[in-house]
Structure formats: C-alpha cells, structure tokens
Subunit: 493 residues, 2 copies
Amino acid sequence: MSAERFEKKETIDLRKKYIGPSCKIFFSHDPIKIVRAKGQYMYDEKGQRYLDCINNVAHVGHCHPDVVKAGAQQMELLNTNSRFLHDNLVLYAQRLQATLPDKLAVCYFVNSGSEANDLALRLARQYTGHRDIITLENAYHGHVSSLIDISPYKFHQLSDTEQNQFVHVASSPDVYRGKHRADHSDPATAYADEVKDIINKAYKKGGKIAAFIAESLQSCGGQVIPPVGYFQQVAQHVREAGGVFIADEVQVGFGRVGSHFWAFQLQGEDFVPDIVTMGKPIGNGHPMSCVVTTKEVAEAFMSSGMEYFNTFGGNPVSCAIGLAVLDVIEKEDLQGNALRVGQYLTSLLEKQKEKHLLIGDIRGRGLFVGVELVRDRLKLTPATAEAQEVIYRLKEQHILLSADGPHRNVLKFKPPMCFTTEDAELVVEKIDVILTELEEALDLKLNNALTVENESNKRKLLTDENGHSGVLHSKGSRQGSPQQTKQSKRLRT
Amino acid sequence: MSAERFEKKETIDLRKKYIGPSCKIFFSHDPIKIVRAKGQYMYDEKGQRYLDCINNVAHVGHCHPDVVKAGAQQMELLNTNSRFLHDNLVLYAQRLQATLPDKLAVCYFVNSGSEANDLALRLARQYTGHRDIITLENAYHGHVSSLIDISPYKFHQLSDTEQNQFVHVASSPDVYRGKHRADHSDPATAYADEVKDIINKAYKKGGKIAAFIAESLQSCGGQVIPPVGYFQQVAQHVREAGGVFIADEVQVGFGRVGSHFWAFQLQGEDFVPDIVTMGKPIGNGHPMSCVVTTKEVAEAFMSSGMEYFNTFGGNPVSCAIGLAVLDVIEKEDLQGNALRVGQYLTSLLEKQKEKHLLIGDIRGRGLFVGVELVRDRLKLTPATAEAQEVIYRLKEQHILLSADGPHRNVLKFKPPMCFTTEDAELVVEKIDVILTELEEALDLKLNNALTVENESNKRKLLTDENGHSGVLHSKGSRQGSPQQTKQSKRLRT
C-alpha cells in the first residue's frame, strides 16, 4: 500500500474543495504532508524526517507497535458498545483508577476531551444543583457549545458574542506575567482570594457556583504553572460555596509532568479534585477520553434518572488500546524519561536564557515546557513575531515546535514521551542559532535593554484550538516564503 | 490472547465498582457478556451465538475483515491530527461527497454523532445569526449539554429542568399515532403547517429560528417515517424565516433504507437539507462522525474568525476505516441487500399483522423497521409490557431485539446490513410463537377487541439514549428471572 495517493498539490486542492475552511493547517502557506511516523519522528512524502516536539497525543511515540497490535487484535475480535459486559472496560477502569487517589473511583468513557469536559459540567451541575462555572483567563476546554462558553481562549475572539452570564473568569495564576508575580509573598493565596471574591460577587447577584474548572497546567493559556497551594485554596472556597473542582488533564496527564502521573498532583498530596477529565494521550491518537469522579457525584448524576449512554465510549477496542498505552508507559518508564529528559531540556534552556535577552522565562514540568519570549525583560513586551520566526525557521530545519499563550509568544514543548536528551540538545542548539541571529538583527544583546516596538500587530496571527497557533499562518499572514524575505525586513517592517 | 479475563460475576462486580451507574447495560438482571462477533452474530463467553437485530453501528457486519485490515494497516503507518496534509482525509471527503447532492459539499470530521449535531447547531447559528431551534417531539440528538436541550426524549425525563427558551418542539410526523394520521388527506402539509405556526409564534415573542433539526427517520422516537413532502414544506417555512434544515442521519444513513444512500432522500429529489450529520455506522464501530454542509454555511462559519479544530477528527486511521466501510457497502451491495431483505422482513411481518391483533403497525424502509404493538387497534393502547416480553423472550432464544418509542412499545429492527432472509425468517418465526402465547394469555384473538388494562405503569421502564430502552431493565424492574415467573402472572399482575 502506497502511503501517498495524490501529489501534494492535489491534496491541497482537494482539501480546499471538501474540508471546512475553519479547519486550519500547520504552516498554511507551505503545509507539511506527513505520510508516516515512528516514535518522536514524522516523515513527509519525500521521506524527510521531522523531529516532533509538539504531538502530545502520540504520547508513547507515534505508531507504537504494542499499541497498534492491541488495537488490531481487538478490532478483529469485537468492537461494540458498553451495554454488553466486557472485560476490557472494567480492566481499564481498574487500571486507570489505580493511578488516582482512592476518592476518584468512578469512570465514564467518552470519545474526546470535549465530550469529557461537557460531561464534567453536567456532573457538577447535577451534583450541586448550581449552574455557574468559574474558569480561568485564556483557558481552553473544548469545541462543543458548552465549552466555548467557558473557554476565554475561544470566546474572546468573537466580537459579537456576549459572555454567558453563568460563566465567571478568574485571573490566570501566572506568576511571570500575571496579576501576582514571583516577587509576591504568597501568589497562591492572592490568586485564590480572587476566586473567593468572584464567588461572593456571583452570590450577591443570585449566582451559585457549580464548579471551578482549570487545566492542571494551562496549555493554550501559555504553559502556566499555578503556584503550589493555589488549587487547595480554590477548592476550599468553591466547596464552601457548594461547588466542585474539575481538573482538566486532557493535555497534561498520563505522566507527562514526570514527577507524578497527574499534573494536579504537583499541588501536593492534600489536593484531590472532585472530577478529573482525560483525553488526548489516553489512546495514543485513538479517539477515547474519560471522566473520573467520586461515588457521591456519580450517584447524584444517577439520581436524575437520566441514563448516560455514549455509542463508542468505552468500547473493547478503545479500552484495549488504553491498556496498551498504560503498559508501555510503565514498561518503558516513560514517566521517568519525561522527568529526566524534561529536566535536561529545561537546564539547557536555562543556559540559553543566560545568553539570550529574548528569553524571558523558562517554565515547565517534565516534558511540558514553555519558553516565553520577550522584547524587554522588565516590561515583558511579548516577542510575538520573534516566536513565530523561531517556529518557522525550525520547521525549515525539520523540527516541529509551536508557540501559544495569549500573546502567542510562548514556545511550547510537549513531545512524545520517548523524546531523548539528544533530541533536546538538537532543538536547543537550533534555537540558540536562531535567537542569536534574531538578536543581532534587533541589536538586542544581553544587558542591552533596548525596547523594540512590538510588531505583533503587523503580523496577523491565527488562532488555534490545540495550542499550536504559532504555526498556523494563512497565506496572507506572511509576505512571501521564508527564503524570499530577509530576516531583518521581516522583523523591522 | 484469551477473549475472557474475568469470570462473568467478577466482570459485573468490577463494573459496579468502577463504571458510572448511569451507564446502563442490556438485560441488567442477567446481562450478556459478549467476547467476539462476526457479521450479524455475537458470541458470549460460553460460545453461545446471538443473532444481532439491533447493532446498526456494526453496519457492514461485526469485525468485517476489510475494515479491520484498513484500520490496522493505517494505525501502523500514521495516526495524527488534521493539521498535517493527508490523502485519506481528502479522499474520504471526496468519496462521501459523491453520495450526496452537489450542494452538500463541505465536510467537518468529528468523533461522535453528538459532536456532529453540536457542530451543526453552531454552524446554523453562525450562518443565520439566529438562535432558536425547532426539534421534534420524542427526538434524540445526542448526550452533550446543547443536545439534551433539543432532545425531548431526554429532557422530558427531568422533572426539575425547565425547557430551554430557545427550543421549540413540533409534533412528531407520525401518521400512525400522531396528531394527523393516515386517514388525513394531507398529513405532510398538516404537520409542516404546525412548524410554520411555531415559527410565527416564536417570531412574535422575538425568537428567530436558526434551524429545524430532525432525524430523517425518527429512531428513538419510535421508527417514525415522515410523510413524503413534509421535509420540503418544513424547509421552505424555515428558510423563509432565515433558518436552515439539519437532517440527522446518525442512525439511518449509509444505505440502511435500501432504496437510497441517505434517508432524507426518501422525501424526493427536490429535497436537500442545508446540513447533514452522520455518525454510528460511518466507521463500523470506530469513533468517527461527520457534518456536511453547503459552501455558504461553511464560509459564514469561517467568517467568525474562530478556528475549528478537533484533535482526533479526520485522522488518517478514521478515514482509512471510513473508506473501507464505503468500499464494503459497494462491493457487497449492502444497500441492495438492505432493500431486498428489508422488504422481505416487512412482508413477513405484514403477514404476522394479519394473524396477531397485538401488532398495530408495521413501518420501515430497508433494514430500519418498526413493529408497533398495541392492546387495542382502535384505541392504539400501547402494548408496552408485551413489547418488553417479546424482547426478553427473544433474548432467551438468543436473538437481540429492542423496543423503543415514547411508549416503549415499538420493536426495532436495525441489524448489521449483512442480515439475510434466513435471519429474517428466524426472528419472525420466534416472534410469531411469542405473540401467539401472549395473545392466548391475554385472551386476545383477532377480531376480539378486548381492551386490556395497560400495564406499562406496573413495570418500571428504564430509558435509553440509543434506542434500546426496551432491553434495559433494572433489577427491580422485573420480578424474578424469566424462568421463575409465569407468563400469565407477568402480564396480569
């Protein structure tokens, strides 16, 4: 079987003809056609290899043979809905539960992070009898209607949309650029107190909080790592108001943070969410997702009398694949690898920060790392155009990286978990060269606190639902191809 | 690899422990454990074969080797998101489009019927700038929040839920039991006029219609087949009000109706919806779904500036599987088979109607057939308990059938499309015996117009999101096992 059926140009034309134009493509002026992938590498139609630093969905590595085998064998045997008893479903639920605090004991299997977060809201509302939701600034929780309502990352783009009256937005607990920074004596309390204020204000207007929802580490929001203790305090305030805490682990779960299996565990053992949602990496690309909650929440949901049925959710093939993913994480110690390689990557990047004034902040846990680029380390002027430049030039050198965050100036690392120290060295080395050239063009040198006009408005940046907006360019967003445009021109015009 | 890992009892116990109690199981007092399946047959852990008359998801037959092979091969090669160019995506979109009217040209790939219908509502609202939705009585369109709002089948179960003010419910165009019946001179116009009245009433209150949504044939609603011309007239009224027509083909598409590939085509060539949603059978059990719409709607959606990204939607594995399903439908002439076997099944059932007073109506197209059981052919008293009895006794004889509709008295046939005339003969033969015994117990004989007290209230019937409520029984809903309980006692107490 040939991996390629059409010439690239024809693929592009057919895509334009038949696929919704709202479905964006990476590097749209010169998109990549990928025909196969293995581990942390993807290959285009000419056999060119790309180092993949962004596909957190291919968690245990693209096309892992154990996962492929488990899926293929089960597809051959049985694939049906969960109204029949099947061992894979209960076995997987049991295995998954074993990675979580005891209190989180009841699973619901669905097909996507969006379905998981929507169900989490339904669970929270049914359990509490309340309706209001508190979400974080820049948050993204999914593409179905109910989630766009709670995703400022999305709804802020719509000029003519009124914010849903049941949704309250709290500041992102960003200690680099946010309201309360690293120099604050207790940013966790300061940010949590804001949530408390929101609860009180809502209450005065008759609003009752059903849930606070947050990614355990904000992904699209700019790789934000909340200060330890923040979640505990928020949970206390929310529970006192009769609400629940929903931890969205869709992007960051399954060992990615290295030290723990779940990113919410970074807050400490004294923190347990009421509902956890999982997605992307759970099936290494196979469409599956999960919501786990407490017995109390599950029983309240049941008491409504409304059945929950999901046609594909928890089918034997999905669960076989999910089990294989858990096996590989364990067998290949990918959580340990994330810790080791992540620490190494972070240390390499820290050295770059000493060298490059454009690097404002390095933050991350395991193989979830953000590099925030700024024009000015005091004013924190976002180096948006520079971040895009890095992404584009890395692509030319066959490395896939993305940029995200509200200013699209945070380089995002979230590679397959088999990423190696050599991979880390390679990408950092390339970034070093690119930043050196960019800084020369900008006359930016360490200890030279030039403020350069932020050019972010001159480049139309497209948005992104998966945290890769940095690499999404429409044809109009970039004048000519990278080769045609002089770097200095690109940065100074 | 053994297909069974736990003893059945242990599977049941683990399921109780780890799976949300709102996720119901077939025949919960004695559920079936299925370990493998092939074609139209499923096999339990003891090797007992069941004839499957209900799993429309396993469209081309359970575990079809061509579909399994296509999935396995592509999983081995590449499974990633649609931000990279891939031929499977465009090839599948092209193939799918070829089955549709030219106007329906733009595809969005998602993971479930629920995601598809939610996106359809977003498309409609963005395109029209309106918000209100007209849905049908007893309709079911999915399990995410936005769809429960438009699914009376679901929201009518919630006593404490207010109906969403933007949602209007029109009568089901049911010519057997509905407001306008077969004896009406023009039921299509009568039902469509009601939609027009709803539009006008909404308008007077300031409501503007974004969409009318309906399954092309109502499934959970009781296998309702709208009179020809109804959709055309509804579409005209809705479009005049600035809204669009959404045809939900999640249950009934892909050749099931035999004479056409899509069930909306039964209304005639002059009818083209603005948006079509697809799901269940599209991947023969693999989680995938699709929304197809017009260029105009797609461009309006794009103009909001909000990207649409779906992590798993349209991945190369899903599309490879989708292509294999289309190939098998064609290669094995399954649409033709649905027409032939469906007609044969319907003719066999019609003969049963002549014999059994309990059969009130036979209706269907292709392999989508409903048998409505009534206690009284004039009063149309729903024979709910009897329908459940049929389902249970068929299960004892290793045939899987379900009952649905607002009164849970419609036996539903929607088998894999490889269903044969022999299969049809077998199930009808068994139904004949069961109905004969039931009628004897009830002293119901043809031309004997006994009205028997409707016992539907004496049996607690659980609800169902997939149209199989008839086979969902809680432990408390059935006294003892079928063997322990005398049939006459079951029907008369």
